[in-house]
């Protein structure tokens, strides 16, 4: 997912070269038949590369790249999953997607989830990380406990929350007990509330991860900066605004990137709590839910595959734009200010 970063560091390193590796093998060989030895060394090296990387590459091509390519191929057919696809429809599936009101609706949901995740979790995570970064006792235990929701599987989170959020579930009961009975609601079935309920569950599950990242980012800021600022008479809030936030920038931007990609591809939680796509109760359905409904449940494999391709393209475009306009600063910073 953060392939933009990964790739760039890789090429960056490559330009530095891998000194010694190729050289050591040839240097060890006797001097006179150097060319022959080098050739033999080359062949041996190729064999080693093939032996070591072959299995992983084959596996990856067969079970990751090939299925994705297959989805792109099926997307050009009207196909119901029996036999080989024969009914070539060109870009028709994609034209249908653009006009499909149900797809627009699920796309809209993904958009909301994306924006709300950033807006809710981002500031909250920064504030919590700032608070928890102070010198307090029991920090390692705090860190474990806030990470727990993230480690629990989506199925368990979904099952647990749907029991608690039933109309006669624990949440409504608790509200009644603490005198907030007027806030009781149909958390899951009310079309107006469902998306917000989903956002609540998503925030609960993923905020621990965001806080841990921010904490890690905060710890990389040198203490000396704050000491110097304190000597200059800066207040706590001035320090946070002028030192912490700018230096936390790279962490925030990477977290936001992961959150965006995750929001675009959300499936498990929604599927577990609200079940398969039903047009009348589609208050929370995402693109992935609609894709599964079209592909596996309705048997429109061609159309479902086209939706998968659209999802992939949206993620790819977002990732590229984000890399181009937001993450680039960080990459430059990594190269030019890496020594500081």
């Amino acid at each position: 997912m953060s392939n933009p970063l990964g790739t760039d560091t890789a090429t960056g390193r490559q330009s530095q070269g891998t000194p010694g590796v190729g050289g050591a093998a040839t240097a060890a060989a006797p001097a006179s038949p150097r060319a022959a030895a080098r050739r033999r060394g080359r062949a041996k090296m190729r064999l080693e590369i093939a032996l070591l990387s072959g299995p992983a590459i084959l596996m990856f091509l067969a079970f990751v790249i090939f299925p994705v390519a297959l989805a792109a191929y099926y997307g050009f057919y009207r196909w119901h999953g029996y036999g080989a696809p024969t009914d070539w429809v060109g870009l028709n599936n994609y034209k249908l997607i653009l006009k499909d009101p149900a797809f627009q609706q699920v796309l809209w949901h993904n958009g909301w989830i994306l924006v709300l995740s950033l807006v809710i979790q981002g500031p909250l995570a920064i504030i919590l990380a700032l608070l928890l970064n102070q010198k307090i006792r029991g920090r390692s235990i705090i860190r474990i406990l806030i990470f727990v929701p993230y480690v629990i599987s989506e199925v368990i989170v979904g099952t647990g929350w749907s029991l608690m959020l039933q109309s006669n579930g624990a949440v409504n009961d608790l509200l009644a007990h603490i005198g907030l009975g007027s806030l009781q609601a149909e958390w899951l079935s009310s079309p107006k509330l469902a998306l917000w309920t989903l956002m609540g569950i998503i925030s609960w599950k993923y905020i621990g991860f965001a806080v841990i990242l921010m904490l890690a980012g905060l710890q990389s800021i040198p203490d000396e900066l704050f000491e110097a600022a304190a000597i200059d008479g800066a207040s706590y809030w001035q320090m946070q605004r002028r030192i912490t936030l700018p230096l936390l920038g790279p962490t925030i931007r990477i977290w936001a990137f992961l959150s965006i990609i995750g929001s675009l591809q959300l499936f498990d939680l929604v599927f577990i709590i609200w079940g398969p796509y039903v047009s009348s109760t589609a208050g929370t359905s995402t693109m992935a839910i609609y894709m599964v409904a079209q592909g596996r449940n309705a048997g429109n494999y061609g159309y479902g595959s086209a939706i998968a391709v659209v999802m992939f393209l949206i993620s790819l475009i977002v990732a590229l734009l984000y890399q181009r306009f937001v993450l680039r600063r960080d990459l430059q910073g990594a190269v030019t200010e890496g020594d500081k």
């Binding site: 890789a10 080693e48 608070l131 307090i136 599987s153 710890q219 995750g262 990594a334």
Partner: protein, 300 residues
């Protein structure tokens, strides 16, 4: 998805350094700080933990307790639900399936990933950049997008409804993160060690088996933990591949159980708690490694 997010974050890691030194220094408690901070911290922990505790504690109640007071505490505490789940053959079958899938795919991903990462980190050849980009791009393909064609591929191989049909794709989809975490680890091994090994007559492969594997152990452990938890929690892949209940892994089992016993809420809660226990224990044991790995990643 969750695990991939965790993993892929680590992918931005450049030089995974052990962050413990600084943290220890800072963690040393000097004095109790601001009470407000503790208040917020406790509140936050409460919000994070309360739903989990609700599931665990709810398993100790009876259904009539739950229906009369959904948010109450057990009175009296009942262990019957837990015992009946622990005696349930289906639970243990699903537990065993989950263990098999998680172990096999973790081992598979780690071994294949280590081999290819070694090539990417220590060999010099033309297609290296392309190979690295290929795996890095793999992070952009989450399982959900490819699931339908993947199902067709698995079906053509005759592996539908078998654990192997889950394990193999799980390994393949785990490779990108593994490669991206391990390559920097392997690159960080000093060339002098390799040269010394060469002088002592070790071939590059000998060097790989005798030196690289032990030296890259911290990275391997991080990759292994992330892989195990990711596989343990995976839902979409088993959902598509496994049909018969005898082959279900725990996530499918939890869902199946909660529909089957939808009236028996207490038992569903007990089943759910027991299903999440292994991942939680695993996490608690290795927490330092995971959080430390993330910390190292951000610092790099």
């Amino acid at each position: 998805m969750s695990a991939t997010t965790a993993d892929s974050f680590t992918s931005s890691s450049t030089e995974p350094t052990a962050p413990t030194g600084r943290r220890d220094r800072r963690d040393k408690p000097q004095k109790w700080g601001n009470p407000f901070t503790y208040f917020i911290a406790l509140l936050f922990i409460g919000v994070c933990i309360a739903p989990v505790l609700y599931i665990v504690i709810g398993g100790f109640r009876t259904n009539s307790q739950i229906s009369t007071s959904p948010a109450g505490l057990p009175h009296p505490w009942i262990v019957g639900n837990y015992i009946s789940v622990l005696k349930n053959v289906t639970f243990w079958g699903e537990f065993a399936n989950s263990v098999i899938v998680a172990l096999a795919s973790t081992i598979g991903t780690t071994i294949l990933g280590l081999m290819v990462s070694f090539v990417l980190a220590r060999y010099d050849f033309k297609l290296k950049g392309a190979m690295y980009s290929l795996f890095a791009a793999g992070l952009m393909f989450p399982l959900v997008i490819a699931i339908t064609p993947l199902y067709i591929v698995v079906k053509d191989l005759g592996l539908v409804d078998s654990l192997l049909g889950v394990i193999i794709p799980q390994i393949a989809f785990g490779l990108p993160t593994t490669v991206i975490i391990l390559v920097p680890f392997l690159r960080a091994i000093p060339n002098e060690i390799e040269e010394a090994a060469a002088i002592d007559g070790a071939s590059r492969l000998g060097f790989f088996f005798r030196m690289v594997i032990p030296l890259s152990l911290p990275g391997v452990v991080t990759v292994g933990i992330l892989g195990f938890i990711g596989s343990w929690n995976n839902y979409v892949l088993p959902l598509y591949i496994l049909n018969s209940t005898a082959n279900y892994t725990l996530p499918l089992g939890v869902q199946q159980f909660s529909t089957e016993y939808s009236v028996d809420t207490a038992k569903v809660l007990a089943f759910t708690s027991l299903a999440m226990l292994p991942a939680l224990i695993f996490f608690a044991i290795f927490e330092k490694k995971i959080v430390g790995g993330l910390t190292g990643a951000v610092k790099g």
